[in-house]
Symmetry: C2
Subunit: 274 residues, 2 copies
C-alpha cells in the first residue's frame, strides 16, 4: 500500500490530487491523464480514481484507460520517451506495465522494436463478438443452473445500479461514461457469477475487456438509437426466472446487436491507417 511518505517523496507528473478517505486504508490517486496528453480541445474527462498498490499498477491502469478511451490510438507506437513525459514513470516501470497489457492483448510487442497499441478492425470485432458469445452463453447457462440466493441478490443489486446510471446517461451529458462501463461490467459479471468454472471466467474476462474497447468507440459517436435498458431488463427477467433457453437467446441477441451497432460506427469512421 502506498503511504504518504512514498507519495511525497516522488510525486509523478500525472498526479492531480491525492486524498485519504477515513473509511478505508486506501490512498486515492486522482490522475489527470489529460494534463500532459496531446488531446484536442475535446471535453476533458474527469480524473479517474485509482487505488494503486504500486507504481507499476498505476501505470498499467493509466495506460489501459487511455487505450480503452482512445487517448492512445489503435496502432500507435508507444515510445518510452513519450510515455515518460506523459505519465511520469521510469523506463522499467513503464516496460512492465506494457508487458501486462501485452498479456491482455491491448498492446502488441516486437522484440527490439518496441510496443504498439493493438490495432482494431472489423474482422477482429466480428471474430471477438462471435467468440465472446460462445463463451458467455455457456457461462450464463451454467450460472443460471447453479445460481443460489446470493447470486440472485448480486443480480438484483447490479441491475438496479445499472438502471440508475442508464437513466442519467440518456438525458445528461457523457460525463458518466466511466461509471456506465463499470456498472455494465458489474451487471454482465453478476449474470454469470454463479458459473463455477474459474477458467471460463478467466477467458470471458479477456474477451469482455477487448469488447469494452470497441464499445467505447461506438459510445462516443452513437448513431443508432437503441433501447439498451430494455435489452438488459429482458436478460435480467429471464435469468431470475431461471429460464435458461430464453436468457441465452436474449443475451445472444444483445451481443449480436452490439456488434451490428459497433460495426456501423467502425465502418463509417475508420480510416485506412487507423
Amino acid at each position: 500500500m502506498l503511504r504518504f511518505t512514498r507519495l511525497t517523496a516522488q510525486i509523478p507528473a500525472f498526479l492531480a490530487r491525492v486524498e485519504k478517505h477515513s473509511e478505508d486504508d486506501w490512498i486515492w490517486i486522482f490522475m489527470d491523464t489529460n494534463a500532459a496528453a496531446n488531446v484536442t480541445a475535446a471535453a476533458l474527462a474527469p480524473p479517474k480514481p485509482v487505488a494503486a498498490r504500486s507504481l507499476v499498477e498505476a501505470a498499467h491502469e493509466a495506460i489501459r484507460h487511455e487505450i480503452l478511451t482512445g487517448g492512445l490510438a489503435p496502432g500507435e507506437k508507444l515510445r518510452f520517451e513519450m510515455l515518460r513525459k506523459r505519465f511520469g514513470f521510469g523506463a522499467s516501470t513503464l516496460r512492465e506495465a506494457l508487458t501486462r497489457l501485452v498479456g491482455e492483448a491491448l498492446v502488441t510487442s516486437e522484440e527490439q522494436k518496441g510496443f504498439r497499441v493493438a490495432p482494431v478492425s472489423l474482422e477482429d470485432l466480428a471474430d471477438l463478438t462471435r467468440t465472446r458469445k460462445f463463451i458467455e452463453l455457456e457461462a450464463l447457462r451454467e450460472s443460471i443452473l447453479n445460481g443460489d440466493d446470493a447470486w440472485e441478490g448480486r443480480l438484483v443489486s447490479a441491475f438496479h445500479r445499472l438502471s440508475k446510471v442508464e437513466a442519467k446517461l440518456s438525458s445528461g451529458p457523457e460525463l458518466q461514461q466511466d461509471e456506465f462501463e463499470r456498472r455494465n461490467n458489474e451487471f454482465h459479471h453478476a449474470l454469470i457469477s454463479a458459473c463455477p468454472s474459474r477458467w471460463l471466467h478467466h477467458l470471458h474476462g479477456i474477451l469482455y475487456q477487448q469488447s469494452e474497447r470497441y464499445r467505447r468507440i461506438s459510445l462516443v459517436n452513437r448513431v443508432v438509437p437503441r433501447d439498451v435498458h430494455a435489452e438488459h431488463k429482458a436478460m435480467f427477467d429471464a435469468a431470475l426466472a431461471r429460464n435458461v433457453e430464453l436468457a441465452c437467446q436474449v443475451a445472444g441477441e444483445h451481443i449480436e446487436r452490439t456488434l451490428a451497432v459497433m460495426g456501423k460506427v467502425l465502418n463509417a469512421g475508420m480510416r485506412p491507417g487507423g
Copy 2:
C-alpha cells in the same frame, strides 16, 4: 537478434555453449539450467536450445521451461536473488519475464509481495480439462469444415512426425520428452489450424499450455498403460475423412482420458503443500 558482440560482452552464468548455424540467421543458446540449480542428484536434462531475440525472451523461456518440467515447483516463491543466481539475469529483466508468465497464468503475483509459481490442484485440472474440451472441440469442428488441401498437408506431416517420436518414446529412455511435447503440440495445433477464428486460437493456446504442465507431471511417473498412438490415429483418420461428429467424439474422449490418467497420478503423488 543477438549478435556475437552482445554475447561476448555479457555472458550470463546460464550459458552452456553458443552455436551459429549456417542454415539460418539465429544464434542458438544452449542453456544449462541445471548448472546453477539446486537440483538433487536426479538425471540431468539435456540443454534446451532457445533462439532468443532478447534477454527477456531468453529468461521467459528458461523459467517457463523450469516451471513446466517441475524444476520450479508449484506454489514455490520466486525470489529475485535466487533467480539471479540460477539464471544470471538482472532484476528488471527477470521482473519482465515473470510478468509475461503471469499473463500466461503460469505465475501468480501479489503487489509488494512478489511472485510465485502458480499452484496446481485436482480441481483446477478438472476445470481446465473441461474448458479446454469445450474450446478445442469447437475449433476442431470449424477447422474440419474449413480445411483445405494445405490443411490436410500440415495434418499428414504433423501426424507422421508425431508417430516417429511416439515409437521411440515407448522403447527408449525419457530423453525425448521435450521433443515429444513439441510434436504433440504440433499435431494438436495442426488439427485445428484451419479454424478461422483468431480468438479461439488465442484462448486454446492459453489452455493448451496449462494442460501441458499437468501432462508433463503425469508423463514422468506414468502409472497407467495407455495406447496414446492409437488415440491419435483415430483422431487423425476421422479428421481426414471430414467426419466432424466422429472426430469431435474421439478428441473429446482423448482429452477426458488424459484427465483420468493425470488425475490418478496427481491424486497419488500430490502432497498437501505441493
